[in-house]
Symmetry: C2
Amino acid sequence: MKLHAEDLEDLALGSVFLATGGGGDPYVPLLLTREVLKRTGPVELLQPSDIPDDAFLAAIGNVGAPTVSLELLPSDDEALIALEAFEKQMGRTLDAVISFEIGGGNSLIPIMAAASRGIPVVDGDGMGRALPEAQMMTYAIRNIPSTPALACDYAKNVTLFTTKGTDVYERHIRALAMSSGGMITTVEHGMFGKTLRDALIPGTVSFALKLGTFLRENRGQAPALLAPLQALFADSIYGECHLLHTGKVVDKSTRIVGGFDVGNTVIEAFDQAGAPVEIDIKNEYLMARRGDQILASVPDLIIIVDYETSEPINAERLRYGQRVAVFAVGCPAFYRTEAALDVVSPRNFGFDVDYVPLEALPN
Amino acid sequence: MKLHAEDLEDLALGSVFLATGGGGDPYVPLLLTREVLKRTGPVELLQPSDIPDDAFLAAIGNVGAPTVSLELLPSDDEALIALEAFEKQMGRTLDAVISFEIGGGNSLIPIMAAASRGIPVVDGDGMGRALPEAQMMTYAIRNIPSTPALACDYAKNVTLFTTKGTDVYERHIRALAMSSGGMITTVEHGMFGKTLRDALIPGTVSFALKLGTFLRENRGQAPALLAPLQALFADSIYGECHLLHTGKVVDKSTRIVGGFDVGNTVIEAFDQAGAPVEIDIKNEYLMARRGDQILASVPDLIIIVDYETSEPINAERLRYGQRVAVFAVGCPAFYRTEAALDVVSPRNFGFDVDYVPLEALPN
């Protein structure tokens, strides 16, 4: 299967849904990637089962505060500069690249990089959604070393990290992102095919494309889309899909704290019946609550969409007064394992509660 | 000339005087360097005129907030790890190393590195004192590229920077220092002998040793040392030496801001006659004022010493109640040039005044 320039808009749309508010705004990455693909032709979407054992791969994407992605605009060459500098450091060429996370701009950066470099991109990613920190990636959870890793900022300054653990690596790239204006592109987790196949969330690029196509072809009020969305997710690695709430954004506030967008949003029901739903944000939508009742929490996916069109809305574009619907989708099974919940449970984000799967919550 | 383990205590003492409050606490670096020299034997102190044109050199030292140097303790191998990683990156071995700054711990780190690596250390440095930021080094002012530069933190994580300007480099290493606990060791400004000879402040290691020996042999009340210190400095690249004030520390406050120690101290005259002297701090003592009257300012050197022993006191060890004397010493001529004052005048530290040489001020 190949990804063509014409596929990218649907892919971006589906990816923003899976991004759960984060992953960075896809608009400029979409324009850039489309231009690159028009020049290079389509990119091969490599199925995980087709990755040779000894293929050398790495993960690529942007790191930073998503709000910055609206103003600090990438070019079409940071990804390639970072890839080539990474290859030089490793002393070998890459056979393919893979996403950190299937979400927003970060679903497109690897495609742009792959096209520029003339190599395939893997149909899968390291999160099955977007999550804010490097140690939350499947690659890190599977103990694949994150470094040597290469970072390129938007002024093309290049930094190479060699750290002993992904938690330290995360702290260092976050600091670099902040000192570079808020956003950098990194290439990390150099790994062989055999290792990667065991560590990725499979099929998420093609699923995001399918989801985006569905959303484009079925533009309409969110409640009407619940049943077909449930069918779509039931037939995927995600499973559950619930409609948590509909209403109007009456409060939205985030600040950049430690290089992340941190804050929350409050969504009042259209008829103002019952308590409003509050959603906590750290780059991504992390937890949805009505009063004291948790409706859904990380690592399950929480998605805010425009009520009328069902177009997903990233946190950096969420505004007071928007009429929205809130969906929740089950996370891939990988993230319900103990090893994964050690780093992505609500407690890892400062909430004093354990993770309860979406389908076991009253929502 | 060789530097022996027995020289280091005097060298540290003289360096803290020239450090003008900054450069990091020398205590642990002194112990470590002495142990290394006992193992390796003395280190050759290479005179600038003896550096071959084609010798390959680099500057090495610690970067961070000096307060951290009291608690985040270095080991004897970060410097060597950083040197060797730097050599590997550059694809060539170093013929000698040189200090960033002659001051506090940073006058000892290059000696420890040189001894561990079995190469000489240059009798000179890149500041002739200590200053807080990388772009304030003579090497940077002479447009020697600061990168590729190698940083090693105290957990031995290694980061390689390739940036387009020293101002960006400074921002990035500062961010890394902060995200590494407040202090890192860096190797930077890879350069050839011919270039370095034109860019260094010469003779500062041997002068610091001479000054330290003088201070040890002439322990006593500060005012009594003024005349011999004036003679010592008159016969050096520094020239002027003034006694600005004597009194008691009645206030001292610094906070870590952006990876620097930032604050001030107030020193009341023993007889409480006249306004107290206030000294602004950004890692180093930057400006001494009595009321509205500036007594001395960066890039000239401001030194606070113990009143009874004349032992210099770094800013991180300055405390309420200490009885002190404040000296000022003229900076090397290099720092009175326009190119240098472009980056080290009081205005570069946020003071709304031009630099006036020490000897032209009423002090």
